[in-house]
Amino acid sequence: MKVTIRIWDFPTRLFHWSLVLAVVAAYITATLGGNLMDWHGRIGSFILGLLVFRLIWGFVGSTYARFGSFFPTLPRLAAYLKGRWHHLGHNPLGALAVFALLADLSLLVGTGLCSSDDIAFEGPLFKLVNDESLKDKLSGLHAQAFNFLLVLLALHIASIGFYRVIKKTNLILPMLTGKKEVPKALAIPVTGGGPVRFFTTVIIAGAVVWGVWGGVELIKPVESAPVPATTPSF
């Protein structure tokens, strides 16, 4: 006997697909460069907001969005590998992937905030880094973290494909509609989340992003332009 449950709530789905678009846009703007680097920075800040949102939502969101419901503890992993994990939501291996992606994206955002492209773009926190060699290292780490992201994304997409072809399970549809047909015995009540918590979490995430951009201006305000010396015409 199967029932349809709401497995992925709207905020989680919105987060996921916004992240997909943002990551693609961040890649394109960084590759093209020039004046698009400023957009790269803005998109990176948007990703910061998304990550902050997800971090909070992992504690106040609905059942399957909460980290507690899918955190890959060793017993859960062992059970899954022995074929004894029968629950809903992210399975323990999928959970490892989720946390790896979130961690790598956090590293990307963190290093990006402190990076420079050595041309004309600086992350908003670049001026707070005092050590010269550390500045170069952070920019380099930003690039390396992106290479690792490509590996993770390849695994992510390959897994979705594997589930579709081999396990005959469509994972994309539930992440779009939020609905999944499950055996009635597994369908526990889905609680938590809701519009009030969603709205509050968005405000907090927005505040963090504003703080990173606008707040830095308060610490190091823009100086007015110095009076230029006149250049003799050689």
Partner: protein
């Protein structure tokens, strides 16, 4: 006769070496050049892109002229043999493949020169939007060399 030949060889070697200078000096001079470029691109970014309310036509034109001057100063001379190894102000980040990619390097280097010259021309007009556009194009040419021949940290 032998001493004249020896003298000629020594002079020839000394002259070419003196032109380029020791490896560390070449690295140091070009690192200085790019650092100086960064100061000037920063000025233009601030007044033309980030805070156009502070735009000063002469200030930006001076910065663009400085960039063009550096671009036209013959930096190629500072990429002599062996300059992928060594320390100027900091360790050289030139990829060893540079020496096998001379043709591609010439292309991207010329793009940079052209963009810098164009920026100096546009900056003289004081048209902030045109300057912003050309400044973006300049940044892309900087990236051209970085992507091709500079080691990522």
């Amino acid at each position: 006769m032998k001493t004249k030949l020896t003298l000629a060889i020594i002079l020839a070697t000394a002259t070419t070496a003196a032109f380029a200078g020791p490896v560390e000096e070449q690295i140091r001079f070009r690192q200085s050049a790019y650092s100086f470029l960064g100061w000037n691109t920063g000025k233009i970014k601030k007044q033309v892109v980030d805070h156009p309310e502070t735009f000063n036509k002469d200030y930006v034109a001076a910065a663009a002229n400085a960039i063009a001057a550096v671009a036209n100063s013959g930096l190629g001379e500072l990429y002599g043999a062996g300059t992928d190894q060594g320390i100027g102000w900091k360790t050289s980040r030139l990829k060893p493949e540079f020496f096998q990619k001379k043709d591609e390097v010439t292309v991207v280097a010329n793009h940079f020169n052209e963009a810098a010259n164009e920026l100096a021309k546009v900056a003289a007009t004081g048209d902030i939007n045109a300057i912003k556009t050309q400044f973006g194009k300049l940044g892309e040419t900087c990236k051209g060399c970085h992507d091709l021949i500079r080691i990522k940290e």
